[in-house]
């Protein structure tokens, strides 16, 4: 592959050199040595690989604040390498890998190990998330500072999968992280209101199905507590996978009050409803659970108006034998990296709720800012790192779970036809995926 890449005639929807929103102006983008070298009408250098981008949308490479790559510990479900491939296929150039592996990412060494596995895979920047507490036990702070000072430069900390229940521990974490500019990404779930058995939204459907319910208030009450703790400490809190209208109201209120809070929503909470669990298919079992339409409407509005800053996938691969149990016994979680952009196009762009420029903000600029990633979510401008994604907005694709780059098949989008497709993903000037397939190491080097 050539070191020089010319993207010809793309619509530029990422922020411009001045940081102002993109307008979709057509231009050629020349990438050389991993950075954007020229924008405008560019004649192809003779050594350049040319990509015809007529009618395609160019965005800064997507950044996912919330992925589970399962390595170390469950390499039968996903590895850093296969997860990176799924990320590249989905248009991501950076993913934050959650700490709930085995062992847990709760030391600097563990964080550096994840970073190095990501570098070796070479398909996306894999940024470790550090645990807030040792072993995710919720009791003692993990080595937050050593993780922050490690080569992995950890800035996002989360016990995701579990909530930091103890208000005093949460308070200490928010305070202690201030010198590092770190953020606690909280999985908001009051364990007394929604225990480990809670497996679907508490409402009429859970009542009829006889499934232990997960009431929305178990989330919003923790969000309310956490924003007050953020105000008290001056720390930064990020609400992971917001799923209820009440949580959105709390976040909106807290932002208006000047509290340092950010929030993410998953594509599945935007698009999929609690009624899907009626058939007891564990592919729809996820934590927090799929919610009713009132919540989804509020999430869509909050993502549109910016109350929710970012879309994050909560990509959660699981081996078949961990899903093929009775609903109550099956593992929580669903795949998301490869379908995220298409779902956002479906729910947000096509109905006119977000422009492609705003998609760039929600899926790249804002998550990169929240995670303090210096080289992602950047303007598409001369001198900037060439982390880019090229999207065909007119494409329509029927999702095939068997075709996934992930090792797992717990794909709730299987069989659905979704708009927009990733044509190419570019990481520091190198193409990492084309037409929904990550490049193999040989192809990448060819």
């Amino acid at each position: 592959m050539s070191d020089v890449l010319l993207i010809r005639g793309a619509e530029l929807w990422g922020p411009g050199p001045d940081g102002m929103p993109g307008t979709g102006a057509r231009a050629d983008v020349l990438v050389r040595d991993g950075v954007v070298a020229e924008i405008g009408a560019v004649s192809a250098p003779k050594d350049a690989e040319v990509v015809d981008a007529d009618g395609l949308v160019l965005l800064p490479g997507l950044v996912d604040l919330h992925t589970h790559l399962r390595e170390p510990g469950r390499e039968d479900a996903e590895t850093v390498s296969t997860g990176s491939a799924a990320a590249a296929a989905g248009g991501f150039t950076a993913v934050l890998a959650m700490a709930n592996t085995s062992p847990v990412t709760d030391t600097g060494e563990a964080a550096e190990r994840i970073l190095d596995l990501g570098t070796a895979a070479g398909l996306a920047d894999v940024v470790p998330v550090g645990a807030v507490t040792k072993g995710l036990a919720g009791e003692e702070l993990a080595e937050l500072g050593l993780m922050a000072r490690s080569r992995a430069r950890v800035r996002v900390f989360s016990d995701d999968g579990r909530c930091v229940q103890d208000a005093r521990v949460m308070r200490r974490a928010l305070e202690y992280l201030r010198p590092f500019d770190g953020v606690v990404s909280q999985h908001a779930q009051d364990a007394n209101l929604a225990g480990p058995q809670a497996c679907c939204h508490e409402g009429e459907i859970s009542g009829r199905l006889g499934l232990p319910g997960w009431p929305g208030v178990a989330e919003s009450s923790i969000v309310a507590r956490d924003v007050m703790l953020a105000e008290h400490t001056g720390g930064r809190v990020h609400v992971a996978h917001v799923s209820t209208a009440a949580s959105v109201d709390v976040i909106r209120w807290a932002k208006a009050r000047g509290i340092r809070v950010t929030a993410e929503v998953t594509p599945h909470h935007l698009a999929l409803g609690t009624e899907l669990v009626t058939g007891y298919d564990p592919v729809y079992k996820v934590n927090p659970p799929l919610r009713p339409s009132e919540d989804r409407t509020a999430l869509v509005e909050a993502l549109a108006d910016g109350t929710i800053d970012a879309v994050a996938t909560d990509h959660a691969p699981h081996a078949r034998h961990d899903k093929e149990h009775a609903f109550a016994d099956a593992a929580f979680g669903m795949l998301g990296l490869e379908t995220a952009l298409s779902v956002v196009a479906d729910v947000m762009v096509q109905p006119g709720r977000l422009t492609w420029s705003e998609v760039a903000t929600r899926m790249s600029v804002a998550p990169a800012r929240i995670a303090r990633l210096a080289s992602h979510g950047r303007p598409v401008a001369v001198g900037e790192p060439a982390n880019l994604v090229l999207v065909d907005p007119a494409a329509r694709t029927t999702v095939d779970a068997a075709a996934s780059q992930s090792l797992s098949r717990n794909n709730p989008w299987h069989g659905r036809t979704l708009p927009a497709a990733v044509v190419a993903t570019v990481l520091r000037g190198r193409v990492t995926a084309r037409d929904g397939r990550a490049l193999t190491a040989e192809e990448a080097l060819a």
Partner: protein, 318 residues
Amino acid sequence: MTRHLLSSADLSREEVEAILDTATEMHDVQRRQVKKLPTLRGRTVINFFFEDSTRTRSSFEIAGKWMSADTINLSAKGSSTSKGESLRDTVQTINAMAVDALVIRHNASGACQQVAQWVDASVINAGDGTHEHPTQALLDAYTLRSHLGDLDGRHVVIVGDLTHSRVFRSNVITLKTLGAHVTVVAPPTLMPSGIADWSKADGFATAWDLDEVLATGDVPDAVMMLRVQRERMSGGFFPTPREYTVGYGLTRPRLTALLARNPLALVLHPGPMNRGLEISADAADSAASVVLDQVSAGVAVRMSVLYHLLAGSEGAAA
């Protein structure tokens, strides 16, 4: 007739009535000295119980044997997760032995519905978690019908731990299918979530006050008391067993009040009973109690269900 019996909602009124009519024939067989029918000779029925059960399992076993099926009982206590085998693997292993019917009791709601997608055998739900127990609802309907005749317009009151009751969930469907009116009574903490919308959509009434239901409005033709599980008593759903009995037990004064309004009213309980808690000894042993009729009907109804799912259309008790 459907191939599986997973939910009471799988059965139309005609199908419920056909099962109950056949059960009447089966009940006659039960009274013969030689109880064996050749109907299911050569068929294999596995009673696969992932959760303890005495009456449902023995009732299915006897039903299968009287129909001449080869009946095998398997128990797999605890979830299969703890053994490292998926539910799918577990049931496909059994299914691979060419069984005709899998009677499944599982501690998780929906398990039977999932299993039905993975096997060729007919799946009969013998109780799945806190979801449904369709054969219990059929035997309750059989018992009610044998005492009351047609259930159209009859009023049945169901009292107790609705949240965790599969008996309630199946009964409310089957009773409605047969045209009965249903009122369910429980303290708010034992009402399933969303029951306000659910009861409106499905046309049954809800109440918190048992005395009011017994004393006013539609005269009850039957009162079904649900078992209160031991583990709920310390689970914060209500303060003490004593307080529960005062609010929701079928005590002697309540039985008297019920019979004063309707001397022919029936008392049902799916068993096992907590005497002194949800039902007083007076009520359990009164002439109004049809608890043992329910048990007896259990075998006949399960014979009928096996017959309708597995056998051809020839006369059942011929």
